[in-house]
């Protein structure tokens, strides 16, 4: 990871894994990856990182007591039981 190209490409890797890079830069990265094992590892572990935080993120949830206090604070208590 000392090569200058690697560091220059680093800031584009996030867009690259999203598939939102321009064709030319994308091709340039792919050419580089063919010959640079280190960058390939960075791309693979970056992809895996993204996969992991998506796979482990909690679904939206409001605990019952927090929800009750929210409805009370908003003066919407009358809708509390009906909705839940």
């Amino acid at each position: 990871m000392n090569h200058e190209t690697c560091h220059n490409l680093l800031e584009s890797l996030s867009d690259y894994v999203d598939g939102s890079l321009g064709e030319q830069l994308c091709a340039e990265i792919e050419r580089h990856l063919e010959n640079c094992e280190d960058c390939q590892v960075v791309v693979d572990t970056l992809r895996k990182t993204i996969y992991l935080y998506h796979a482990t993120s909690s679904p939206p949830h409001v605990p019952d007591d927090v929800r009750s206090r929210l409805f009370q604070r908003l003066d919407l208590d009358e809708f509390l039981e009906k909705e839940h």
């Binding site: 990871m1 560091h7 680093l10 800031e11 890797l13 996030s14 867009d15 280190d38 590892v41 960075v42 693979d44 572990t45 970056l46 895996k48 990182t49 993204i50 992991l52 935080y53 998506h54 796979a55 482990t56 993120s57 909690s58 679904p59 939206p60 949830h61 409001v62 927090v66 929800r67 206090r69 929210l70 409805f71 604070r73 908003l74 919407l76 809708f79 909705e83 839940h84």
Partner: protein
Amino acid sequence: MNNGKHPSEAISLEALRAGDRAEFARFVEVYSGVIYRLALKMVNNPQDAEDVLQETFIKAFRHISGFDGRSKLSTWLYRIATNEALMLLRRRKHNFLSIDEPIESSEEEQEPLQIVDWCCLPEDELMSTEARKYLDQAIDELPTSLRVVFLLREIEGLSTQETADVLSLSETAVKTRLSRARLNLREQLTNYYGERMGRKHLVEGGLP
């Protein structure tokens, strides 16, 4: 009970503006889950997150007539919530002087880059309770300016443009911050899994 529902189930802006309380209750029901999740990850404290949640809907209630409808209702609500959370963090920082992380400085730093290929670890090791905890903590420790972009884009699923609207940033700035947040987390996970791989290696290497 609406936690699994998609928030795009149409909320009538007209009814909200007309002060329809039942519609407002539905609005709260649909969005409180995502707003609370965002608040929790922003302020890292259930009591403060509850304050952010309440203030967000109080302000939404109060200002709905001024909502021009140019952005999505959800984007507008995220903006209120994000501002509330950031204000709270600023107050906290002010109260505790500079024990908190610097908000902008680490954004420009080049991350160190470790090369360890931990992708091959088995899924149960990658997703162990300890690993999840480590990842959660790494997200909590992202500098605020990166964390807020990361949460809106990656956890709440807003587009680059919506995130830019919420935070009054350019789309380029959103992309840059997301990139830095992702690389930062990759680095943290490399520390964690790399160490585990190293230990395993040592144990295996140490066998006769």
